[in-house]
Structure formats: C-alpha cells, structure tokens
C-alpha cells in the first residue's frame, strides 16, 4: 500500500471516529481530478460543480460501507463514475448526443442546443484545452469514460477494470478505440 493510500485510510478512520471535519482533506486531495473527469462528462461548468459536490457527499454518506478491499481512490472513482453514468442516463440531452455520436466520426459536428459557456472558465482555459474538453465530452459513452479514466485520471489498466467491472482485454480495446476517436477529432479540429 502506498503512502497516499495509507494517508487516505488514516483520514477515513478519523472521519468514522467522529471527526467529520477531517473529510475536507479527502475533498482537497481529490477535487481537481474529480472535477476534470466530471466536467468531461457533463459539459456545463455549474452542473459539473454541483455533481462534484454530490459525489463527495455521497462518498461521505457511504463511507462506512467502504470495505477496504480496494484502495480508497478506486472506491471513490467507482462512485464518481457510476454517478455520472446515471446522471447522463436520466438526462435526455446526453442520450441525444450519444446516439448521434456513436454512428461514427462523420456525424460529429452536431452541437448541443443548450450548451452554455461559463465566462469565468473562458478566461482561464486555453482555447486548445477547451476544444480537447469539448471533443472528449462528445465521444461515445464507453470511450469517453475510459479515456477520462486512463488519460485524464491516469489510472492503470487494472484499476480501470476494477472500477468498470470489465475485463482487462475489454479495457484495452476501449482505450484503443477511445484514443483513436479522439485523435481523429483533434486532427479534424486542427489541433494536432
């Protein structure tokens, strides 16, 4: 177990022992990564903020059922991944996108009608990275999820297999396809 993992466990023990405020440390440690994943899934900045918050609250509420059979980070990411999955499922505009986008590269230039940019974000995010985020969020569901986990969160193949509950070979295939998809899109947008 790495240092970072045992640190997590120490904090969790404190939280479960009644020191609820210690949970801030978990939020601090994971918020950037969690947000970048969620923002890739949910294109709206404010919505992504709310969901990030919800994911932490849910993690806190479920903390006692964390069995410590995996790393805390893996467990936390499964909560996050499943939350986003359900959220998109319930939100018809995401269904629309994934239907169109799963047909292939050619169908890709459809824009979401209710897309709205956050002015605060515009200032801070470089144009090229905004395009990267946009194109990631338009990937077909399975590829977007895996790409975010592998190339945004930097998780290992094994961790991803655990989080998604799929086989290693399946993980590999999705990584290949997701990367190829994204590469073609960034090429079409003149970024690479």
């Amino acid at each position: 177990m790495s240092n970072s993992d045992s640190e997590d466990i120490q904090v969790i023990d404190r939280v479960l022992g009644g020191d609820v405020e210690a949970f801030t440390q978990i939020i601090d440690k994971y918020k950037d990564k969690a947000f970048n994943y969620i923002y890739g899934q949910i294109k709206d900045y404010d919505e992504a903020m709310d969901i990030t918050q919800e994911v932490f609250i849910m993690t806190m509420e479920a903390l006692r059922s964390f069995r410590r059979e995996s790393k805390f980070s893996t467990w936390f990411y499964s909560i996050m991944v499943n939350y986003c999955k359900n959220y998109r499922k319930k939100n018809s505009r995401y269904n629309l996108v994934s239907m169109n986008s799963s047909r292939g590269d050619e169908e890709y230039d459809l824009q979401l009608p209710d897309e709205r940019e956050n002015p605060e974000e515009e200032v801070i995010m470089k144009e090229s990275l905004r395009i990267v985020r946009d194109e990631i969020s338009k990937l077909p569901d399975d590829y977007r999820e895996i790409l975010l986990l592998r190339d945004i969160q930097g998780l290992s193949y094994n961790e991803i297999a655990g989080i998604l509950g799929i086989s290693l070979s399946n993980v590999k295939v999705r990584i290949h396809r997701g990367r190829e998809f994204l590469k073609n899109r960034l090429l079409a947008r003149g970024l690479i």
Binding site: F23, K31, Q53, M60, I79, N82, Q153, V173, R179, K183
Partner: protein
C-alpha cells in the same frame, strides 16, 4: 513493409509500454523507416499530451470545500432530528443512498425517485406505513432498505406485521451516535408461518437496561 502498417492499437500499446519485448522492437524498427506510421504515432502522442495538459488544469473550484462540508454537516443534523420525530410522512424523508457496495456496483443517491431502485416505491410506502403504525421513527430510505428505530416494547408487534421480508436489527441506545452503529452482514427473514426468526440473531451490540430501542433495516 509499407503494405503492413502498424495498427493503431499497437501504437497505443507501445505508448503505454504494454507490448511484449520482441514485438516492441519490431514496431520501433518499423517506425524508424515508415513516415506514415511515425506521423500517426506522433499524433497519438500529441493527443495524449493535450489530455495530460487538460488533466493538470486547476479550474476554479471556489467554495467547493465549504459548500460540500456545510451540506454534510446539515445532512447529519437533519438525520438526528428526523430520528427523534415520532412519525413522518414518506414525502419528507431524506433519501440517502448508503451504498451496499458489491464489486463495481454503486447505488446512486436519488432524491426524486425511490421507484426505479430495487425497493419499489409502493413497497417502500407500505413498509413506511407499517413502521409508522408501530411507534417507530424512520431515519433513512434507500433503494435497498428502510431504516428506523423502534422501542423494544413495540418491536415484536412490528415484526409480525411486516409480512415476509428480510430484516436486520440491533439493540441500540437512542442517544447512540451514528458513528458507533455497525451493521453486521446478517439479515433475518421474518414473516414465516410461525412468526419466529429463522435462526437466532446473534450480533446484538451490547446489553443492559439502557438500551431500550431496536434499530432495524427492512430490506426488499
């Protein structure tokens, strides 16, 4: 070798260094002599470099900590208050998804719909109704179970009214904070013909006269 270009998946594996050593050498040699494949590999590298740049962004998450923590604090307070109320309409229950995590499965918290979870809405309502009739308080409703607390004196009656359900329960002190409540894995099936437990319920936490309540979870 130009008629046998390298497949994208192989380039991706090379990038992640998960190719077998001999294949890796062959691919490297091909990349040195084939411009098309070398270009493709560079593009993959550029794509993933951009991903890393995006991943490294620290977007302004002002107030995220404070807002999250204050929600956590108030949810806890609300739960304690709820528990002290004698009866409660289903509509005002706070529905929290305490995950019963099996590998890779998480039940997502969902305020809007109890339906769609594993415990159907009407069944939850029925359970909640029964619980309310027995002088019990309800502290949580999730897709998996309804949790409540009932005086020991009413518990046997409550159990008999449940019909055939799976229930977990333990003796508690009403003042016992949440943190000290640990549920075992054991679930008892109630509502058989005899009205008797299928087997003895062992893991009661503690004994003594001060523990006069039973905290229970009724599962679907």
């Amino acid at each position: 070798m130009s008629d046998r270009h390298i497949q994208f998946q192989t380039l991706s594996d090379l990038y992640d260094d998960v190719l077998p050593a001999d294949e890796r050498e062959a691919v490297r040699r091909h990349l040195q002599s084939c411009e098309a494949c070398a270009l493709e590999y560079r593009r993959l590298g550029d794509t993933l470099k951009l991903c890393r740049e995006y991943a490294g962004l620290s977007l302004p998450l002002d107030g995220l900590n404070d807002r999250t923590m204050s929600k956590i604090r108030s949810a806890r307070t609300r739960r304690l208050v709820l528990r002290s109320l004698p009866a409660m309409a289903a509509s005002v229950l706070v529905i929290v998804g305490v995950g019963l995590f099996s590998t890779g499965t998480v039940f997502v918290r969902d305020r809007a719909t109890v339906a769609g979870s594993r415990l159907s809405y009407s069944d939850s309502e029925r359970v909640i109704d029964i619980i309310r009739k027995h002088n019990a308080t309800i502290s949580q409703v999730t897709g998996e179970y309804v949790e409540g607390t009932v005086p020991v004196s009413s518990f046997n009656d409550l159990k008999k009214s449940m019909g055939f359900r799976r229930v977990a329960y333990m003796m508690v002190d009403e003042s016992m904070p949440d943190e000290n409540v640990h549920w075992g894995d054991a679930i008892e099936e109630v509502g058989h013909d005899t009205g008797q437990p299928v087997r003895d319920w062992a893991p009661l936490t503690g004994t003594g006269a001060s523990r006069q309540y039973v905290r229970f979870r009724v599962f679907r």
